[in-house]
Each structure stands twice: as C-alpha cells, then as structure tokens.
C-alpha cells in the first residue's frame, strides 16, 4: 500500500511481465531488437541510480520480481499481461504458463491473464478454452503487432477477431487488454492504429477494452474513442514513468486523459520490468497538475482520483473487493516474508 494524505491506498499494478529474453531463448534477430528496445525505454525514463544492466534485464528471478513489486514497489496486487512473441523467442517471451508459476504460488497477489491471436483459428479458440479451464482467466492481453508467418499483424475489428471476442464473452473473459503502442509492424498502415478498438468496443458492450499505453503515438485517436465508449479504458504504463522524468508533460497527458476518458476509466501499470513500481507509484501518487493545467483542462488530479487510477478502477474490472482482499493479504506468505503486517493491520482489526 502507499501512504498518501494520511490514508493507506491500495495499489494494483495492472501491467506486469515475467519475461525471458536470455540469449539462449532468442531465435530471431527481432528478439534481440525487441529486448534492446525495451531496455532503451527503461533507461529513457528510469532514474540513473535505478537502472538495470542488460544482463539483469534479459531475465530476472521470480524472487526479485516479488520483492520489486510487493516489498519495495508498494503494490498489493499485480496483473500479468502475457506476450508470446513465439517467432522471436524459442519458449516465448512472457508466456501464460511462465506467469502461472508465480500466480499459483501467490494466488492472492496476482491476477493471471491469458492471450489469444485471431490468426490461430480453431486451435487458438481451443487454447483459449484451455486457459479458462486451467487458470480461470478473466482477461486477456492482445499483441496485435505480433508476427506470424508472413503476417505482420492483425486487427481487433476483423471477422476472425470477433469470433474470439465472442468466445471471450461466452467464457466470461471480460477484460480485453490490447497493446497499442510502438509496434514492430511498420509497413501496414494499421501499425500504430487504435481505431480497431472502436468497432470491437461497440460490438461487444459486455466486454471491457483496456488500451495499453493509451495508444501512443496515436494518443488522440485513443482519446476520442475513450470519450465515446464507456467500455474503453486507458492503461497508463509508459505515461506513468513520465511523472518522475517529465512531470509537466505527465500533467498535460493526465489532463487530456481526465478530460476525454475520465477518472473511472484509467488504470495504473508499471509495465514491470520496463520500470519498477516503487518510484513510479511514488511519482504518480505525488504528481500534481499545475494551476495552469487545472484551468486549461478544467479537471483535478485529487487524492481520490489518484486512488481510483492506482487501484480501485482495476479492482472494479477484476471484481476484487479491496477490503476483503486486504484481510486476506494480511496473513499471506508475502506479508509474512516482508513484514508487511503493519500496513494491513487496519484490515484485520475488525
């Protein structure tokens, strides 16, 4: 939890990974470029003394991850967003099954999301059913820029994709997280496109669509869709670390997001291990809009608004009762290991 304004704030890091970009796992030059690019993002916005070297960045231990999130990172819970990238990495980059190791070990702490790729046909639909059956997933992470054979990507508003979304709806997989940020599919005009979310969100009002990285570099297209569709959300990873490195720019982007998308539809994510939640949570929770920004946008980034973004909105989407969960976490393994009893003591008192 994060102590802010005299209150313990429940933190859900809604975007984390447990990846393997070790040299042994890379089978295509795209895999090396991919992790190098991640590391560039990492160093671009991480305070110098907190930067990881490349070796550590390729592959980190489960122990480190749990420490970085729950001991140091203020997070009470975290949501895994898998990324297969199986054309680049022999055993995948950040797979559902890898993520499941940690979620099985600490079930109260993690939410495990699944994945699908609409180009995988019947097999993919069966795989989605398997993920539901084995892991009881309620969300998926989609990576529309992923390569598959000759294809350099797919769209959410395609006929094939709609079949998968129907399956999600049928299985009760309601949270559809789509990566809409820098892509590796540069030729197609859809490369940076978030506009496929629009039709998908209108056609499946029972599903929630979380646009990760708020669509950058097509932030404006995302904001317009978010303004129109109540079931479209913004995941603020990539924007969040700017609260530390570029506070004014962070304020401006948050001003736009609150103006267009609204305080109930924004989710915090560190994008771990892109960035560590410790300093990102601190920077976001301590961030303030300047008085010009408040006048300009007519919005406020208050304590209550930040509470929603840092945890409550994700809890709502994933049906997590925060008070109940605090009681559960008060005597779990992580709390015992890292001496976190104090922060949950309010929860166990009654």
């Amino acid at each position: 939890m994060y102590r802010h304004d005299g209150e313990d704030v429940f933190v859900i890091d809604a975007h984390v990974h447990d990846w393997d970009a070790s040299e042994e796992n890379i089978i295509h030059e795209g895999g090396e470029q991919f992790i190098q690019c991640f590391h560039d993002y990492h160093t671009a916005f991480t305070p110098e003394e907190r930067q990881w070297d490349m070796d550590e960045y390729r592959k980190y231990s489960d122990e480190r991850m749990v420490r970085d999130l729950f001991r140091d990172g203020h997070a009470d819970m975290a949501i895994f967003q898998p990324t297969a990238l199986s054309e680049f990495y022999e055993h995948g980059f950040n797979t559902v099954e890898d993520n499941a190791t940690l979620t099985d070990e600490y079930p109260g702490r993690f939410v495990l999301n699944g994945r699908f790729d609409s180009r995988e046909g019947e097999d993919g639909l069966e795989e989605l059913e398997r993920q539901k059956e084995v892991h009881d997933i309620t969300g998926v992470k989609l990576y529309t820029a992923e390569w598959r054979g000759d294809s350099k990507g797919w769209r959410l508003d395609s006929k094939d994709s709609f079949e998968y979304l129907e399956k999600c709806s049928e299985l009760g997989i309601t949270n559809i997280h789509a990566h809409k940020g820098p892509t590796i599919r540069p030729l197609n005009r859809d490369a940076f496109d978030v506009r496929d979310i629009d039709d998908a969100a209108t056609s499946f009002p029972e599903l929630n669509f979380i646009v990760e990285h708020v669509g950058f570099p097509r932030f404006d297209d995302f904001a317009h869709i978010g303004a129109e569709e109540t079931n479209v959300y913004g995941g603020i990873s990539v924007v969040a670390p700017m609260a530390h490195a570029r506070p004014r720019k962070f304020g401006e982007i948050m001003g736009e997001l609150l103006f267009w998308v609204g305080e109930d539809n924004l989710l915090f994510g560190s994008d771990y291990a892109l960035w560590e939640p410790e300093w990102v949570v601190e920077a976001v929770m301590e961030a303030e809009l300047t008085s010009e920004q408040r006048d300009e946008f007519g919005v406020e980034l208050t304590h209550d608004v930040k509470k929603k973004i840092i945890g409550e909105n994700a809890a709502e989407l994933y049906d997590i009762d925060i008070e109940e969960r605090k009681q559960e976490l008060a005597d779990d393994e992580i709390t015992a290991e890292f001496d976190l009893e104090d922060q949950y003591s309010g929860a166990t008192a009654d």
């Binding site: 560039d40 671009a44 030729l187 005009r189 940076f192 950058f216 932030f219 736009e256 300009e296």
Partner: protein, 252 residues
C-alpha cells in the same frame, strides 16, 4: 567550372535543419538525429539514426529523402548520400533513397502512399499550431467570432525586408481595419507557415483558421475545435517526449 571551396559543415547543418521529423514537428538537427557528416568536395554523406529501430519506414523515408533533396538544392553540393543506421528497414530505405526510387517501388506491401502519410501528419501539425495561434489571439482580447472570421490580409507580419521583421509581435486588424491589436508573433507566423503549406491559406482573403477537415469554423464550435487541437498538440509533444527519451537512451 571553377572549383570553389567545399560547403562548410555549418552550411550543411543549417540546410538539414529545414527537414522536420514529420511526426514531432521539430527539425532533425535539433532532435539530434544526425549521427555524422562527411563532406568530400561536392559530395556529402549524412548518417541518420532515429530514436527507434522500428520508427515507421514512411517517416524514415520522408526524413531521408528530405535531407537528400535539401542538400542537393545547395549550389555546391552535387550528390548527397544518406546512410540510415540502426533501423530495421535501413537496407531498403538506403537503397531506395540513394538510387532515387519511389517509396512504393521499395515497399510494395505498404498500404499508404507516402503523400497521404505526409498530408495526414502535416494536418496534425497544423492543428496543434492552430491551437497556439488561436490561444494567443484570444489572450490578446479577440472575440470568438473575430477569431474564426480572421482573414490572411488582416494580419500584418511587418515588412520582412526591414529590421522590424524580427519584431516579437504582429498586428491583427479588426473591424475592416478600423483598429489593430498587437499579438505575439511566433505562434502566428509558425501557424501561417504550415497553413500555407497545406493549402488552407493561399489567398489574401482566405480565412486563416479551419477545422481538421478544412471547413470554416462556426464561433460556437471554437471551444470544441480548440479541445481537439489541444489534444493533437499533446499527442505530438507526448510522442516527442517518448522519442527524445529513447534517442538519449540509444546514444548513451
């Protein structure tokens, strides 16, 4: 032909500064994309490195051809060779740009023609500059109907040949020229430059401002149009922040 001195690095850099990153509305020189310059008499080689290896090939193409064409328009340059490095499509782009092929010949699978991409980006840049220009006019006291009806001939940029061309303000004439209002020059001049480039303002009697679809703006729409344009600006500068961070990281 008499041999003259080869062009100086300064001349080359000044000319390259005319080439903008089409997405960020900032010059490739200010953005530090120029990795190195080699000048060998009238032949110039420029090495370009962009913030990400995955930067859209269309954008990379625009910068590479822009740099080539600007340099070759210098009298002392006969050939400009562009070397794009650390880009996933560097081979195709370098071959295409230096062999003077069309984008569509090099990237047969590309869905968009390069001119359409260029036009879309230029329009975004116009909107974000319009936001600042209109903000400056409102700040100077213009009413919304005066802003939307403003025509090009009502703006006096000063005599550009005179010393006054460096003036910090321009004069905007209202009520058929009955009186003038002084407005900060920079946002107005930057806006007019782009509005002229995308053919919004070509005649003296043209309205200066327009919607993203190039339609005239009704006064009651102005707030909404400004909100949209502000968002466009936040998109351009937000992406600029990301790219600038990445560029710094890549050059560590």
């Amino acid at each position: 032909m008499a041999t003259t001195a080869q062009p100086s690095v300064e001349t080359i850099r000044t000319r390259l500064a005319r080439v903008d990153d089409p997405e960020l509305d900032e010059s490739i020189v200010d953005l530090d994309y120029i990795e190195s310059l080699t000048i060998n008499e009238s032949e110039v080689t420029v090495t370009l490195v962009l913030p990400t290896a995955w930067c859209s090939p269309a954008f990379a193409w625009m910068m590479a051809t822009g740099a080539r064409d600007e340099l070759e328009s210098l009298p002392r340059v006969t050939t400009a060779t562009i070397r794009l490095e650390d880009h996933m499509h560097q081979e195709e782009i370098n071959r295409g740009v230096n062999e003077r092929l069309e984008f569509e010949e090099v990237f047969e699978d590309a869905d968009d023609d390069i001119e359409a991409v260029r036009r879309t980006l230029a329009e975004k840049v116009r909107m974000s500059r319009q936001y600042r220009a209109i903000g400056a006019l409102r700040e100077a006291g213009l009413e919304d109907d005066q802003v939307v009806e403003l025509t090009r001939d009502a703006i006096d940029l000063g005599d550009e040949d005179e010393a006054g061309a460096d003036s910090d303000t321009v004069v905007v004439y209202l009520a058929d020229g009955a009186f003038g209002v002084s407005v900060p020059a920079e946002p107005i001049i930057e806006y007019l430059q782009k509005a002229t480039e995308v053919d919004i303002v070509t005649q003296p009697t043209d309205r200066v401002f327009a919607t993203a679809e190039a339609d005239p703006i009704a006064p009651e729409e102005l707030d909404r149009i400004q909100h949209r344009a502000r968002l466009t600006g936040a998109t351009v500068t937000g992406q600029g922040t990301i790219c600038e961070g990445l560029n710094r990281a890549r050059n560590l």
